[in-house]
Structure formats: C-alpha cells, structure tokens
C-alpha cells in the first residue's frame, strides 16, 4: 500500500497567511495537572490537591519551515505541549506564541495558521465520504464554495485518495484514514502542522512511505513548519532537522541528530571479526575512546563485539586504525541505532556528570 499515489499532483502552497514572528516560540512554558485521587482519599482530605507536572519550564524556538521532532516516551508531555499550541489546553505559566500570536489571548489567529493532525481516525465522519469530510472542513475553515471544492480535489489527489473520494470513510483501511486525516489538516493551507505519532497505526512499509510523503510533500513542497511528536528515535532522527528530547515534562536537549548523539557522549558500534579483539582495543579503552566492550562468538566462527565509541567519526576512525594495526580480520563494522531509552539515559547521564563536575 502506498501513501502517495504514483504521479500524485502536488498541492499549490499559494495564499498562505504570513506569520507575525517565529513559527513557534516557547518561554518558560509550564503546565501541571491535578492528580486524580480515589474517592476514599478525596473524602478523607477533601481540600488536598496533588499536582503532576506535565510541562516544566519549556523554552524553545522553532523557525518557519523547520521540521522539528519532539521525542519522548509516553507521558513525557508531548501531547500536552501540542494541545497548548492548538489552544485546547491553557498553560499555567510562561508563554507560547505561534507565528507571533499568543495561544491564550490570540487563539483565533493561532487556529488560522496552525493545524493539529488528530491521528485518531474516529474523529472522521465515518458515514460520510472522503470528499464530504473534506468539504465540511473547507466550509469550517472559511474557504469559498468553489475554491473549497478545488482544494478538496487537489488534496485528495495529493494524498492518493482521488479514486476513493466518493467512498464512505468507514470502508477505508487504516492507512487511507491516516492520509485523509492529513488532508483534512491541510485544507486551510496551515503554516504549521502538528503531528502526534502519525505512524502509530501504520504497518512498517506504509509508515516508511508516509514519512517520505511528510518530508517531500508537506515539508518540502508545501513548506509547512512541521512538529512531529514521536517515541520512535529512528523516525525523529530520519525526518527532523532538529529534535527536542522531552522527558517527564522537561526539555532535556534540543539539537540536530548529530548534536544529540554528541550530547550523549558516544555512539554504539558493532564489529564482526574472525577472532576476539579486546586486546587490540585496550589502548583506545585507556584513552577513553572506547568503553563498554562486550564480545560474543557466534555460530559461524565470527566474534561479535559491541562498544561505545566517543568522539564521533574521529573515534570510529581510531578504532578502524587500531584493528588494522592489529591485523584483525574485520567482516563488518557498523553503527548501532540508539533507542529512545538509550538517548534519554545518555543525555541524563551527561547532564549529571557535567553538573557534578
């Protein structure tokens, strides 16, 4: 299943509303929620309020046209941040501005330039056709009748649903509904798009095609500023120019993929050699270039060694040099993708070490 039909037309990015400032500007944004207590606890202490922080002093700026990833585990605060930006949740402190408009005082302006993509397909009208769904939103977004119809046709074409436009949405597959949700968010040509785990319900192949659609069509041709919330590190690092790591409501780090890996301090590498190699790497281990070496022979006579290598590509080059000098027969040397847990742990460790120092 493809997300974008072959030869799909692009959607004209004309008539876009100008921004009055940066795409998104957050300054000390804070939000906390009351913790729901059991009935017994509420009766015993009726006036006690327990709070759970959802966003803690978040400050960040996202420029117009950026593809920004918000990476964090479940409960990190990603959805809360999106809801604040979409004017659905009021922040407790700090400020949030979208395109220069304040999310509390100028909520109507914010809704003209920002579109949240609600990824729950139940939010579509299942008994209406895809075209009727989009036409409804074209009217809600103030598009004139004829222009609205043209826009709907353009979008159905762009997301590869041209032939399915007159079918009832209830009969759509998950992937088709996901594409329709994107098309719905694009109806009013938003400048900023909020995507909350858009590939969650897609199979790996559809997810990959969908990511290509986001990168090429939405970010590339449409020039939308995209905020992508995900707990998939690979997805965030693949798509986004910059990534913010959110954990327990705190923005731990912001930077490019390379920046974040640098902030972690090391990259994990995997090596296949004919014989065990720890001896050849001892010098580098003493220098602090490699760490955490784990070797394990496999069934085909190769030894698999995993290690953390500091210093980016320079560090990796030193490892290859050392192996060459030791005459090791190397079958493969590759970088191991980091999981979200690795990334967060690495960033927390590094912050702890630097604050200790």
């Amino acid at each position: 299943m493809s997300v974008v039909a072959a030869g799909a037309h692009t959607v004209s990015p004309a008539a876009r509303i100008p921004l009055a400032g940066e795409a998104i500007h957050l300054a000390g944004l804070t939000k906390r929620f009351v913790v729901r207590r059991s009935l017994g606890a509420a009766l015993r202490q009726p006036f006690l309020r327990q709070w759970s922080p959802a966003l803690v002093d978040i400050s960040c700026t996202i420029e117009d046209g950026e593809f920004f990833g918000l990476l964090g585990p479940n409960g990190a605060g990603k959805t809360t941040l999106f809801k604040v930006l979409a004017t659905l949740v009021l922040p407790d402190g700090g400020s949030a501005a979208v395109g220069g408009y304040d999310v509390i005082r100028q909520a109507n302006q914010v809704r003209k330039i920002l579109a949240p993509v609600i990824t729950d397909d139940r939010s579509l009208y299942w008994r209406l056709t895809a075209r009727e769904n989009l036409e409804l939103y074209a009217r809600l977004q103030d598009l004139p009748e004829e222009a609205g119809r043209r826009r709907v046709s353009e979008l159905l074409d762009a997301v590869g649903l041209c032939d399915a436009g007159s079918k009832m949405v209830g009969a759509f597959s998950s992937g088709m509904k996901q594409r329709l949700l994107i098309a719905r968010a694009l109806v009013a040509r938003p400048r900023i798009l909020l995507l909350d785990e858009p590939t969650r319900s897609l199979d790996p192949l559809s997810a990959r095609t969908f990511r290509a659609f986001l990168r090429e069509e939405i970010s590339g041709r449409q020039g939308c500023t995209v905020l992508l919330a995900t707990h998939n590190t690979e997805e965030a690092l693949e798509l986004c120019g910059r990534v913010g790591v959110l954990h327990q409501g705190k923005l731990l780090a912001v930077g490019s993929a390379a920046d974040l890996i640098r902030q972690m301090g090391s990259e994990r590498y995997r090596l296949w050699t004919r014989c065990p190699v720890p001896g050849s790497l001892a010098a580098l281990e003493r220098e602090g270039v490699v760490d955490g070496i784990v070797s394990q022979p496999d069934a085909e006579g190769w030894t698999r060694t995993e290690m953390d290598v500091a210093g980016g590509l320079e560090g990796a080059a030193k490892v290859i040099d050392a192996l060459g000098r030791a005459g090791a027969s190397v079958g493969r040397f590759e970088s191991v993708p980091r999981t979200l847990a690795d990334l967060i742990e690495g960033i927390i460790d590094r912050r702890r070490r630097s604050s200790d120092a």
Binding site: K83, A86, L90, R111, L140, M168, A188
Partner: protein, 266 residues
Amino acid sequence: MRRMLALVRASWLTAASYRLNMLVSLVSLLMMVIPVYFVAGALQPVMADSIAGQGGEYFGFLLVGIITLMFLTTAVTSLPTALGSSIASGTFEALLGTRARLGEIVAGTVGYAFIWTAVRALLLLVVGLALGAPLMGERSPAALLILGLIILAYIPFGLLAAAGVLAFKTSGSLPAAVLTVSGLLGGVYYPTQVIPSWLQDLSMAVPLTYGLRALRAVVLEGGSLRASAPDLAVLSGFALALFGLSLYVFTLAVRHAKGSGTLAQY
C-alpha cells in the same frame, strides 16, 4: 452561520445514511398518534370541563402538549448527548482545531436535531389535523413565536447539562429531572388545575406551564398574543434569566476543561 450550516449538513448526511432508522422513526411516530387519538376520545367526557378554557377538545389539547414536549426533549437532551458522543469520537477536538467558534460548533452540532424534531412535529400535526384535531392554522405565526420562546426557555437546561459533560464528563440526571418535572407539572397531558394545590404552586416554577397555557390559548381558542401577555412575560423572564445563567456556567465549564486538559476527553 455558514460554518453552523456545514455542521448541520454533515449531521443530515450522517443521519440520511441510516435510511431504515429514519423510516422506522417516522412510522413509529405515526403509530403513536392512533392510540393517542382513541385514548383522547375515551377520556373526552372526563376531561371536557377541566380543559374548557383551553379548547375543550382533549385530542387537540394532547397533541399540542406532545408536540411541545418533543421540542423540549430536543432542547434539553440533544446538546449534552451530541457533545458527549462528539468528544468520545474525537470529532469535537478536530472541530475545535478549526476556525469555527465554540458557539458555532455547539449550534451546528444540535441544529439538525431541531430540524428533525420539526419534521416529526409537522408530520404529527398533519396526521392530527387529518384525524380532526381542532387546531387553528391561521394562528400559526403566533404559535411558532410562543413555541420558540418555550424552546429558548429550555435550551439553557441543555447548556447546563452540556457544561456538566465538559466539566465532569456527565450531565448527571439533570435532563431527565427537567423533562420529568416539566412533563408532570407543566400541563402536557392534563391541565395544571387538576393537580393538587401544593403541586400547582410548584408548577408555577415550571416555564412550560406558562408556555403551554399561552400556546393552547392561541391555537385551540384563537386567542391573541396580547391576551396571553402575562404568561409570555413570565416565560420570557425565565428564558432571559436561565440563558444568562447557563451561558455563564458553560463558559466556566469550558475554562475549567481547558485548564484541566479535559476539553476533548470523555
């Protein structure tokens, strides 16, 4: 207005996709009129004296009461029900992300329910007239005005229930309580003067009492609006006071839900 109509159209298209459901709803309405007609005929000798000032014909008296109750039910229940299901399905959150204002979303969400009730009421009226209900067609504009006032006096209960849905995720038993009390004390099935005196005192606090009395005086007796002015003044007072209160409470509920992050949660 255009946004509101777009939502009404979406509701209509959704409802029209359940064709059998629509048909059954209309047929069951027709089936209901027949027993009402015969029961009214059987009770006519008993009721004649007590409804002498309100047309004197029990079938017409009942028909006006039942049609009004249909609108009342829509006014009180449609908003909390539609809001609850829209929040649960996620359409509410999607609608809030558009340029439509909350008032337009709310009105658009319930608009179709009122139109459908009007269609059903019209059908009931036509069948009633065919069965000989003594309704005065020439008094329709005045009757519509009074019906509009009655609906305006009851929409606030729907708004209060909807505020409950937004703030606490339940409307509680408010809609059921309002409809039960109004049905029993408002003079839907019998004139308020036949109920015990202490209950008659309570019925003075029910907006429907004034609305139905005025409506029947106009469509069954051919009375003028001027003659019903005292009842209409009280009804308007109810509508104004309750609207102000319910809008305030609804605004508070929206603010509370936005603050607690539960605006789109059910």
